[in-house]
């Protein structure tokens, strides 16, 4: 018998992509896509769309009756605006996960649970170690998505203890970028100027959307090692460097004023306090566990992934302009020197 896989948060771009890939896998018999939204591009014919909220009883019935063996939980969102406000976002993220896990607990055929989490669980602070490994203890982020993600991970871990027969894989993904990705961070780089915290230049890590799709597919279909894994492109990019690559002018704001400006800017982009802390201190996660145990090596480095994303932006400063300036300045200098020499 083939695999029966349930995917939550399936209508958004990451979910839609995974569902499409799963539908083409030969060993997969059934794919149930759960999302109360309609996908931008319709699901393949093989996929059953369950257009319900995670908190609906229909989901419980499906998880328990349909012989689901794998559950991929992508339904944790980082975007209060899209979810309809911070309170609704929290309810969907945390209560939705609780409901899903409650249903999964009573599903006899379940063998694997994959959770898409985030490196935001590590928070961002000056006293952080330079590189996070999965087992390091960290201060709990007190706001927003990071806090939701920690609570969701806690519920999943407690599920792991109660159902030792289910392989639980938690993927902590770094910030995602790519030609089609739309999230608070990509919108930040699309602003005409990029506000930064004056005197800080954090290290950032990026994950290309193709690698996101690949790691989710591998966690769903490949061998199933229990555990939590950081997933990010190799290497780091400094915020100042990313802003240059995006071809935008930076706008440094003194720390005491940052809160006010974030409030103002919050009307166009999601500028949560945790986002501001991230842009002040950054964070980097170690990805060797994913390489060794999951066998996942990202194709895109952080830098290449960001460059691929940035190629869709309107650069204020282009490479040709800079090179031409370099040439002209040197040429001028050479002529001046030649004239003096004569």
């Amino acid at each position: 018998m083939g695999r029966c896989i349930l995917v939550t948060g399936a209508a958004r771009s990451t979910g839609r992509r995974l569902v499409g890939a799963l539908a083409e896998e030969p060993g997969v018999e059934r794919v149930v896509a759960v999302d109360d939204l309609e996908p931008e591009e319709p699901f393949p014919a093989k996929v059953e769309h369950l257009a319900v909220d995670l908190r609906s009883p229909a989901l419980v019935r499906t998880v328990q009756s349909a012989g689901i063996d794998t559950c991929v939980h992508l339904g944790v969102t980082a975007e209060p605006r899209a979810a309809g406000g911070r309170a609704t976002m929290k309810e969907r993220n945390v209560l939705g996960t609780m409901q899903l896990l409650a249903a999964a607990y009573h599903a006899p055929g379940l063998r694997r649970l994959v959770l898409k989490s985030t490196t935001a669980v590590y928070g961002a602070a000056a006293g952080d170690p330079a590189v996070w490994t999965e087992s390091m203890s960290h201060e709990t982020p007190r706001h927003g998505f990071g806090k939701d993600a920690i609570e969701v991970e806690d519920y999943v871990r407690s599920f792991d203890r109660r159902r030792p027969d289910v392989a639980v894989i938690v993927l902590r993904l770094a910030n995602q970028v790519g030609p089609t990705v739309d999230n608070p961070l990509t919108r930040y780089f699309e602003l005409p100027v990029c506000p930064t915290v004056l005197g800080f230049d954090p290290r950032l890590q990026f994950l290309h959307e193709e690698d996101t799709a690949e790691v989710l597919l591998r966690a769903t279909m490949g061998p199933a090692p229990h555990g939590t894994f950081n997933v990010a492109g190799d290497g780091v990019v400094l915020l100042s460097q990313a802003i240059r690559i995006a071809g935008k002018p930076p706008l440094p704001i003194p720390e005491p004023l940052v809160g006010r400006v974030a409030e103002l800017a919050g009307r166009t982009v999601d500028f949560s306090p945790e986002q501001v802390r991230f842009l002040q201190y950054g964070r980097v996660a170690d990805t060797s566990a994913a390489a060794e145990q999951l066998g996942f090596l990202p194709k895109w480095t952080s830098l290449h992934a960001f460059e691929d994303f940035a190629s869709r932006l309107n650069r204020l400063v282009t490479e040709e302009q800079v090179l031409r300036l370099e040439h002209e300045a040197l040429d001028l200098l050479r002529r001046a020197v030649g004239w003096v020499g004569r």
Partner: protein
């Protein structure tokens, strides 16, 4: 531990191996662009253009500076996972520190042969002088005068990563937070790590206690060395105590500002910003023979006696070298 990533195959202008991580084609982003642009660099001065010969070195310098500015404007450089930015160090930070090293403090360096040319080692030094210039001078000595031009990856206090402007500079220079995780990670990837176990106690001690080494914390650095089997290279710096002779410490003001101490020197704060100019003492940096730890094995970490003994051995070595060199020094400014 990350699997060792391939380094870029190209060589820098100085002829050193490029330290940036390589992409699939074996080159880093900087050198990939340079190769695509044809040959050594994006801009190329034709040799022997009429009338330019006497200014050749100047034109070379201008070319390199312009290329550097171009790279920074386009974001075409690479930093490692700790934020170390060799391009910025080579072109901006080291040139800024070099006059201090060569002219102002006339630093003399001995025992560089005790620092391995490759592989991990833990450089442990004494700390003094109110501001951590001694750490910067040791790092510059290793970068400029060591045959392998090694980058010293220093472990710095938390405060350095919370101060605007200082925080990113500290990372770009190759510093990271003084915690066991970061130190272990650096040593495991074969880096040369610098640690100043006296910390603020050494930096902020009054002038009358000069050249008396303070307590060496809890000896966490020895644990890290044992766990990674890295040799410990003690380094003794003299001269740093006299750059800002601290006669008093305004504790209350320091607490108000969130600093570990607020120094009063004969010139600071009396002369305002002028008082912040360090005195031109004569410096001597001596690297001592390495203390091997590999033969003790990582299990030795569990034995507190081994930790205490090694900590004391390192501290005594530095203290004795400091005393020995003070005796041969002709004068504070000599």
């Amino acid at each position: 531990m990350t699997p060792p990533r391939d380094r870029c195959e190209a060589r820098t202008r100085k002829g050193d191996r490029c330290r940036n991580p390589a992409g699939p084609d074996g080159l880093c982003a900087v050198h990939r662009r340079q190769q695509a642009a044809g040959g050594a660099g994006a801009v190329h001065t034709p040799p022997g253009a009429p009338g330019t010969e006497p200014f050749g070195p100047f034109l070379d310098w201008a070319e390199e500076a312009l290329e550097f500015l171009g790279r920074r404007l386009l974001g075409e450089y690479e930093v490692d996972e700790f934020g170390h930015d060799p391009d910025l160090v080579e072109h901006v930070l080291a040139p800024l520190l070099r006059p201090l090293y060569k002219r102002w403090w006339r630093v003399e360096t001995r025992g560089l042969e005790h620092v391995p040319a490759s592989g991990p080692a833990l450089v442990v030094g004494n700390h003094a002088g109110t501001l951590p210039f001694d750490a910067l001078m040791v790092a510059l000595a290793l970068l400029d005068e060591h045959p392998a031009h090694r980058s010293l990856r220093m472990l710095a206090a938390d405060l350095a990563f919370d101060l605007p402007v200082v925080a990113p500079l500290a990372r770009k220079l190759g510093n990271t937070l003084a915690c066991a995780e970061d130190a272990t990670r650096l040593l495991e990837s074969g880096e040369l790590v610098g640690v100043w176990p006296e910390g603020y106690k050494g930096l902020g001690k009054p002038y009358r206690e000069r050249y008396q080494l303070q307590r060496f914390g809890r000896g966490g650095f020895v644990e890290v060395a044992l766990r990674t089997g890295s040799p410990i290279v003690p380094v003794a710096v003299i001269g740093s105590e006299e750059i800002y002779p601290m006669v008093a410490n305004l504790r209350r003001l320091a607490r108000l500002l969130g600093f570990p101490y607020f120094p009063v020197t004969p010139t600071f704060p009396a002369l305002g910003p002028l008082g912040a100019i360090p005195l031109p003492s004569k410096w001597l940096i001596e690297f001592c023979p390495p203390i091997e730890t590999a033969h003790l094995g990582p299990e030795a970490v569990l034995d507190p006696m081994v930790l205490f003994d090694l900590t004391d051995q390192v501290r005594d070595t530095i203290q004795q070298t400091v005393h020995k060199n003070l005796l041969v020094r002709r004068g504070v400014f000599g």
